[in-house]
């Protein structure tokens, strides 16, 4: 039976995603700063990429030249990202407890010069996709077969630089580029559709020359299934719109704009641990 279809494996991936969730919330509680809503919406995507056998990366050689590149364009979701990197083995898990501490390598937003496994310094939105397009062009120039995966927010796509980069990706037919949109429908201030309409989002990507697939962004099996079949169409860049719920997995935070950067209390953490069915061991 292929691994993706193995129910035991799918259950393990789900548990790992939930561990990423609780780890990120615990980090946010520690720092009294963070982005709970997006950490929770992106956890299954990150778990699938790093622990579901999608990304060809080697934690022992973080700068292995032939590695796949993963760029977290929504750099504010560093809590979930760092937890995924630690779980994959890029650095010891106990480092997570230094999140945002003075001189920690776990800055509020990722710094590639501090932390193994980070490819790009992100935080201001609309930077990850142009960088990813450059990396994909670079792979082609070097005749390499590695791929570039970039995770963007949905509100983030209001930054025009994304669409500049999308045009380049189409023009150069970058089939080694995969954009994953964490479509949780909430940005910092409010719901995306109330703030600045993003729909028809899939059609927009199609109009920019991408092969677009939509999936339940919390179904690790579906995500694996899609992401293990890139490019979605020969000669085109791929876009996976992962339909997610902001704050997913923790009922009090789900679909609440206030939890974009809400900071959980110890009571919240206990409730979250119980709902998620995991313990944080660092």
């Amino acid at each position: 039976m292929p691994e993706a279809a193995n129910p035991e494996h799918a259950a393990r991936l789900k548990a790992q995603a939930n561990w990423i969730r609780l780890s990120a919330m615990t980090m946010t509680n520690h720092a009294q700063l963070g982005h709970t809503g997006g950490d929770l919406s992106s956890a299954d995507i990150l778990a699938t990429l790093y622990l579901g056998g999608i990304l060809r990366v080697d934690p022992q050689q973080p700068r292995w030249p032939q590695r796949d590149r993963f760029i977290l364009s929504k750099g504010h979701c560093s809590g979930a990202f760092y937890s995924a990197l630690a779980l994959k083995g890029f650095f010891p898990r106990d480092q997570l407890k230094t999140f945002m501490d003075p001189l920690s390598m776990l800055n509020g937003h990722p710094d590639r010069n501090k932390l193994p496994g980070v490819e790009a310094n992100t935080g201001p939105l609309g930077h990850g996709l142009p960088i990813s397009v450059g990396a994909a062009l670079g792979a082609r120039m070097r005749g390499e077969t590695w791929r570039v995966f970039v995770l963007t927010g949905d509100g983030e796509l209001q930054e025009g630089s994304n669409w500049e980069a999308a045009m380049t990706a189409q023009h150069y037919g970058l089939e080694n580029l995969v954009v994953i949109v964490d479509r949780n429908r909430i940005q910092q201030g409010d719901f995306t559709e109330k703030t600045l309409k993003m729909e028809p989002l899939a059609d927009r990507w199609r109009a920019f020359g991408f092969a677009v697939v939509e999936a339940d962004g919390h179904d690790c099996k579906a995500l694996r299934d899609r992401l293990s079949r890139v490019p979605f169409e020969a000669g085109k860049p791929s876009c996976l719109i992962a339909n997610t719920v902001k704050g997913k997995g923790v009922s009090f935070a789900e679909n609440q704009p206030a939890w974009h950067h809400g900071v959980p209390t110890r009571e919240h953490l206990a409730a979250a641990a119980s709902e998620l069915g995991v313990e944080v061991d660092w």
């Binding site: 010069n113 201001p124 120039m141 380049t168």
Partner: protein
């Protein structure tokens, strides 16, 4: 410029853009990591030959400077050494956050070749002038700022850039310039290039102002003044020792640059003097203004960025000392 040419090595004028383009082709021939990124105009970037020879290592992102700089960072992540070539005014101002984050903060191995900087676009006006670029790039950590003085130094600085680790901003002049260097000149990053030793006063300049500073020294010589001329082509990291030596051994320093007087070469020199050895100084540049309409040559005159203007500033410093 004829008067200027008399004071320098070679009386004919050369286009720094040709030197940069030739150097880039030469580097690409010897190193498969070298690639070029432009934002629309092949002729502005002077890369027609590069594209013809290395089509696989040439990217045109269209009119999209933010994307251009991000693409550069991504190419560097992939192990390439990208040269981003476009009008300095758009590549810096339009993409400043990308320059800060994707290049400087990230320490990406990217070279920004800012074409036609300063007031080179003359009559096109302040939208197309790039008098702010040196100040903007100089204040960012990690990024080196190089303003070559002539075609010889442009070529040498380009060849140096391939060995450099980290981001660089190279300002490539549009105005044809006389050579102030002999062929075979080797660019030394971060080291001031003394073109003429002198005991009375020091003239420090970069870019198109260097040949003008040499001509000013020539004029001062006729007036019995022995002027030192220093080409500060590396504006960052600034050669502090050269500045302090000039402050200690001459009566003061006149800086001259084709850009804002605030924050550029003059600002960098003033920072060193203020902290370590206060000395009389004059900063020649564009003073808190956007340029009026006029050709590049006219605008340099308008702002006193001429051999005569530099000479007068030097004489004022000498007068102060007396």
């Amino acid at each position: 410029m004829e008067a200027v040419a008399k004071a320098v090595e070679n009386t004919s004028l050369h286009d720094c853009r040709d030197a940069y383009a030739e150097a880039l082709e030469k580097m690409a021939a010897g190193d498969a990591r070298v690639c070029a990124v432009i934002n629309d105009s092949l002729s502005s970037a002077k890369l027609k030959n590069f594209k013809a020879k290395y089509p696989g290592r040439f990217v045109n992102v269209g009119i999209a400077e933010q994307n251009m700089v991000g693409v550069g960072a991504g190419l560097a992540n992939a192990g390439m050494v990208p040269y981003l070539c476009g009008a300095a005014c758009f590549m810096t101002a339009r993409a400043m956050e990308q320059v800060k984050v994707d290049l400087a903060y990230s320490r990406s191995n990217v070279r920004l070749c800012g074409m036609s900087p300063g007031m080179a676009y003359g009559q096109l006006g302040p939208t197309h002038h790039s008098i702010e670029d040196v100040a903007w790039t100089r204040i960012l950590p990690n990024i080196g700022v190089i303003v070559p003085a002539d075609a010889v130094e442009t070529r040498a600085a380009m060849l140096y850039s391939l060995k450099h680790e980290g981001p660089l901003f190279l300002r490539i002049a549009r105005m044809p310039l006389p050579d102030v260097h002999k062929s075979g000149y080797e660019f030394r990053y971060g080291i001031a290039d003394v073109l003429r030793w002198g005991r009375d006063v020091t003239l420090m300049a970069c870019g198109v102002m260097v040949s003008r500073a040499l001509e000013a020294a020539h004029m001062l010589e006729s007036a019995g003044v022995d002027a030192r001329v220093v080409n500060m082509s590396t504006v960052k990291p600034l050669d502090r020792d050269a500045v302090l030596d000039a402050a200690r051994s001459t009566c003061g320093i006149v800086t001259a640059e084709e850009g804002l007087a605030a924050g550029g070469l003059g600002g960098a020199v003033a920072e060193v003097l203020a902290e370590e050895h206060p000395a009389p100084m004059r900063i020649l540049g564009v003073r808190d203004a956007f340029a009026p309409t006029g050709s590049a040559e006219f605008l340099l005159e308008h702002f006193g960025l001429t051999p005569g203007g530099i000479r007068d500033a030097a004489l004022e410093l000498l007068e102060k000392r007396r």
